[in-house]
C-alpha cells in the first residue's frame, strides 16, 4: 500500500469520509472533534457524526444541546447523531420511496423487532445513511466518531458479512454500494486512535489486522493520543537513581523516575505498534488543564498543526 509520509492530517482532510476508531477511552471523540476543527480552519466544510446516541461532541464544543441534531457546532462544522431510527427514516425511506409505506410498515412495533433480529441490518442502515450523506454532499468532509473497537469492528464488518450471506436482491445491491464507498481509499480513510497503553495497542494491532487485512478497508493513519512528555536522558537518570534514598530528595526523585517510567512505557508500546502497522503515526499530547469545556478540543487542534509541521 502506498502511504504518503507527509501531511498526516491534510491527507485525511482531502477525503470525503474519515472514520476514527480505537479502543474505548482513548479519546476518539475528542480527536474526531479536534480534527473537524482543524479541517474547518483550513476551509473544509465538515459534518461531524456520532453513531448511536452518545452525543458527546456538542459538549466538547461547549454546547449544551441534548437532541440528535443536525446542528451547527462552529463555523464550518455541523453535527449529527446517527441512530438506527433516523437511518431507517432517511435511508429506509429512500429505499422505499414514500412515507405512507414507512408509516404503515416501519413504525410498527413488530417490525422494529424484526430489524433487531436481522443480523447486521441496523448497522447496514446506519452505514447506508452515512453513505447517502457522503454521496449527496460532495463538497463536505464527513468525520465519524466510530464506536469503540468491538462494536466498531461489527459496524465496519457488517457490509462484508451481509454480502457473504445474501448473494443477490435489493439488499445485496445497496450493501455493495455501501461497501464500495467504505473500501475506496480515495474517498475514505480510517484513522486508528491509540494511547500508549498495552491493551490499547493490542487492540489497535487486532483492529488493523481485521480492518486492513481481512476486510481490505483503507486504514491510513495512526494517532497516538494523550502522550506525556518527560524526557530524562541516561546520565540524568543514573544520577537520580543514586539519590533515590536520600530522605530530602526521595519524593521528588520518585516523581521524576515514576513519570519517566510511564513515558518510557508509552514509547515501548508505540514502538510495538509501529513495528506491526506500517502507517504514519501522529503524536498528540495530553491536555492537562482545561480552562473551559471547549479547551481540550482547541488545544488538540493546535497540536495537529505542529504534528503536521514537524513532518
Amino acid at each position: 500500500m502506498e502511504v504518503k509520509e507527509n501531511n498526516l492530517f491534510s491527507g485525511l482532510a482531502g477525503k470525503r469520509l474519515v472514520l476514527f476508531s480505537g479502543k474505548g477511552g482513548v479519546g476518539k471523540t475528542t480527536v474526531a472533534g479536534a480534527f473537524a476543527r482543524w479541517a474547518a480552519r483550513r476551509g473544509r466544510q465538515v459534518m461531524l457524526l456520532e453513531v448511536r446516541s452518545r452525543r458527546e461532541l456538542p459538549g466538547l464544543f461547549g454546547r449544551q444541546d441534548a437532541d440528535d441534531g443536525p446542528r451547527q457546532l462552529a463555523e464550518g462544522i455541523s453535527w449529527m447523531n446517527l441512530t438506527d431510527r433516523r437511518a431507517l427514516q432517511t435511508y429506509g425511506m429512500l429505499k422505499l420511496r414514500f412515507r405512507a409505506v414507512y408509516r404503515a410498515v416501519f413504525e410498527q412495533r413488530l417490525v422494529r423487532r424484526f430489524l433487531q433480529a436481522v443480523p447486521a441490518l441496523s448497522e447496514i442502515l446506519v452505514l447506508g445513511h452515512l453513505a447517502h450523506l457522503v454521496e449527496h454532499q460532495p463538497g463536505v468532509l464527513h468525520v465519524v466518531d466510530a464506536p469503540a473497537s468491538g462494536q466498531g469492528r461489527q459496524l465496519l464488518a457488517a457490509p462484508r458479512a451481509v454480502l457473504d450471506t445474501v448473494r443477490s436482491g435489493p439488499l445485496y445491491e445497496s450493501v455493495s454500494w455501501i461497501q464500495d464507498l467504505l473500501a475506496d481509499g480515495r474517498r475514505t480513510a480510517i484513522g486508528l486512535v491509540v494511547v500508549g497503553e498495552e491493551l490499547s495497542v493490542n487492540e489497535a494491532l487486532e483492529l488493523y489486522e481485521r480492518l486492513h487485512r481481512q476486510l481490505q478497508l483503507p486504514v491510513q493513519t495512526l494517532i497516538a493520543n494523550r502522550l506525556l512528555a518527560h524526557p530524562l536522558d541516561a546520565p540524568v537518570r543514573k544520577l537520580l537513581e543514586r539519590c533515590r534514598l536520600e530522605p530530602e530528595l526521595a519524593p521528588a526523585v520518585g516523581n521524576a523516575l515514576r513519570l519517566h517510567e510511564r513515558v518510557a512505557l508509552q514509547q515501548r508500546y508505540l514502538d510495538r505498534l509501529r513495528a506491526g502497522v506500517p502507517l504514519p503515526l501522529a503524536e498528540l499530547f495530553e491536555v492537562i488543564e482545561a480552562d473551559d469545556a471547549a479547551a481540550p478540543l482547541r488545544r488538540l487542534a493546535e497540536q495537529m498543526d505542529s504534528a503536521e509541521e514537524g513532518r
Partner: protein, 399 residues
C-alpha cells in the same frame, strides 16, 4: 480497607462490574474475584468483553473462549497469597453458551441439531443485538443453578451496551417470540413451507415491503428459524424472569467503575442513574487510575545549587548533567502536581455529582500497567489492605 467492597466480596452471590470502556472493569472484576477467593469463597470471574481482556488482566496470555480456567494456587503463592477456595475464570463463547441453552430446553437431539446448525443461528450468535449479552445471562444462570461457586463476578460490556446487557433477556426473547412472528410471517411461512399463499392483507403487505429490503428468501429463512426455536422459548422466558429477580435482589450487587476523566466519569454516572431506575442501584463507584499526589521538593532554600555541587563532587557528574538532573526534578514535580491536581478536581466534581447515591473509592495509578498477578495484587492491597499496610499512595490526599 474499603468496607463496602469487602462486604460485597464476602456476601454477594453475583457481582457485576459496570462502566464505560477502557476504565479497568475487567481488572477490577479480577481483583474482586481474587479477594473473594482469598477469603475462602469459591469464585468464578466471567467476562463478556469481546476484546478478550480478562486473560490479559490475569496474566494468562491467550485463553480460548468458552474454556474455564482455574487459577493455580501455586502461581499465587509466589506473590505471597494463599488461596482458600478455588478461583476460576471463563471467557464467554456466545455460540457455545447459546447452543448449551438450547440443548437444555429442547429434548429432541434432532431438533437441537437443526436449531444449532441453522444458518440463522450462526449469524444470530455473532450479530443479533444483545445475543452476546443474552448468552452471558444464560451462562450466569446456569452457573448459579449448578451451585459450584459461592460468587460469580461478571465483567459487563462497556457503558453503551451495559444496559443492553441487563435488558438482553427481554429483548432477545421478544425478537424470537413466535406468536408475534406467526402473524407477521404467515405468508412467508406458508409460501416457504407449504407452498401456497393465504390472503392475509395486512401482514402480507408488510412482508412484501420488508422483502423489498431483504429479498423473500431471507425472510422465509428467518421465519423457519423462529418456528424451530419456538419450542425452546417458554423455558428460556422463565429463566430470564428468574434471573431478573436475582439481579434485583440482595444476592446481586453492582459496582460502577470509572477513571477521573470527564467523559468516562459522566458516562459512569449516567449509567448509575439508569441502573438505579431499574432497581439495580450500584453500591459503589470505584475510580481507577487516579494520579498520586506529587512528592515534595526539598524545602531548604538553594537546594538546587547544593545538589549540583554534590553531584559533581561525590558522584563524579559533569556540571551540565547535574544541572539537567535538577531541572528534571523541578519539571517532574510540576508535571506530577498538575496531573494530581487535575484528578483531585475531577474527583471532587464526581463526588458532588454522585450526590451521595453511591460512595466513591479510589485506586491510584500504578507505575506499570496491570497485566499480571503482581499488578492485581497491588490494586487489591489498595482496596482491601488494612490502612497501615497500604503501600501505594492514595489518589486523594487525606483531608
Amino acid at each position: 480497607m474499603n468496607r463496602v467492597l469487602d462486604n460485597l466480596c464476602r456476601t454477594s452471590q453475583v457481582l457485576f462490574t459496570v462502566g464505560p470502556g477502557g476504565v479497568g472493569k475487567t481488572t477490577l472484576a479480577a481483583v474482586l474475584g481474587l479477594q473473594a477467593a482469598l477469603s475462602g469463597r469459591r469464585t468464578l470471574v466471567m467476562t463478556v468483553d469481546p476484546a478478550l481482556r480478562l486473560a490479559d488482566a490475569l496474566g494468562l496470555g491467550k485463553v480460548r473462549p468458552g474454556r474455564r480456567v482455574t487459577i493455580s494456587g501455586r502461581r499465587l503463592e509466589r506473590h505471597g497469597l494463599q488461596l482458600r477456595a478455588g478461583l476460576e475464570m471463563v471467557m464467554l463463547d456466545t455460540g457455545r453458551s447459546l447452543a448449551a441453552a438450547v440443548s437444555r430446553q429442547v429434548a429432541s437431539r434432532k431438533l437441537q441439531r437443526r436449531i444449532v446448525e441453522h444458518p440463522f443461528f450462526q449469524r444470530m450468535c455473532e450479530d443479533l443485538a444483545g445475543a452476546r449479552e443474552y448468552a452471558a445471562m444464560e451462562e450466569l444462570y446456569h452457573r448459579l443453578q449448578r451451585g459450584e461457586h459461592d460468587l460469580v463476578v461478571v465483567d459487563t460490556p462497556p457503558a453503551n451496551h451495559a444496559l443492553d446487557f441487563f435488558d438482553a433477556p427481554e429483548k432477545v426473547l421478544q425478537v424470537l417470540d413466535r406468536r408475534a412472528w406467526r402473524w407477521l410471517m404467515r405468508p412467508a411461512l406458508l409460501a416457504g413451507s407449504v407452498g401456497r399463499r393465504t390472503l392475509d392483507f395486512s401482514s402480507g403487505y408488510i412482508v412484501r415491503t420488508l422483502s423489498r429490503f431483504t429479498g423473500m428468501k431471507f425472510l422465509a429463512e428467518l421465519a423457519s428459524f423462529v418456528n424451530l426455536f419456538a419450542g425452546a422459548l417458554e423455558g428460556l422466558r422463565q429463566r430470564a424472569e428468574h434471573l431478573r429477580q436475582i439481579m434485583r435482589s440482595d444476592r446481586s450487587a453492582f459496582v460502577l467503575v470509572a477513571v477521573p476523566e470527564h467523559h468516562p466519569a459522566e458516562q459512569a454516572l449516567r449509567l448509575g442513574r439508569r441502573l438505579a431506575a431499574r432497581e439495580m442501584t450500584p453500591r459503589l463507584l470505584v475510580v481507577n487510575r487516579c494520579q498520586p499526589p506529587a512528592g515534595a521538593l526539598p524545602g531548604s532554600p538553594g537546594w538546587q545549587e547544593g545538589l549540583v555541587r554534590r553531584l559533581v563532587a561525590e558522584e563524579g557528574a559533569g556540571e551540565a548533567a547535574a544541572r539537567r538532573a535538577v531541572v528534571a526534578l523541578e519539571r517532574g514535580h510540576r508535571l506530577q502536581r498538575r496531573l494530581a491536581l487535575r484528578d483531585r478536581r475531577r474527583l471532587a466534581a464526581l463526588e458532588r455529582q454522585a450526590e451521595g447515591r453511591f460512595p466513591l473509592a479510589t485506586v491510584a495509578l500504578l507505575e506499570q500497567d496491570v497485566h499480571d498477578i503482581a499488578g492485581l495484587e497491588q490494586i487489591r492491597r489498595q482496596l482491601f489492605a488494612p490502612a497501615e499496610a497500604r503501600s501505594a499512595p492514595a489518589g486523594r490526599e487525606e483531608s
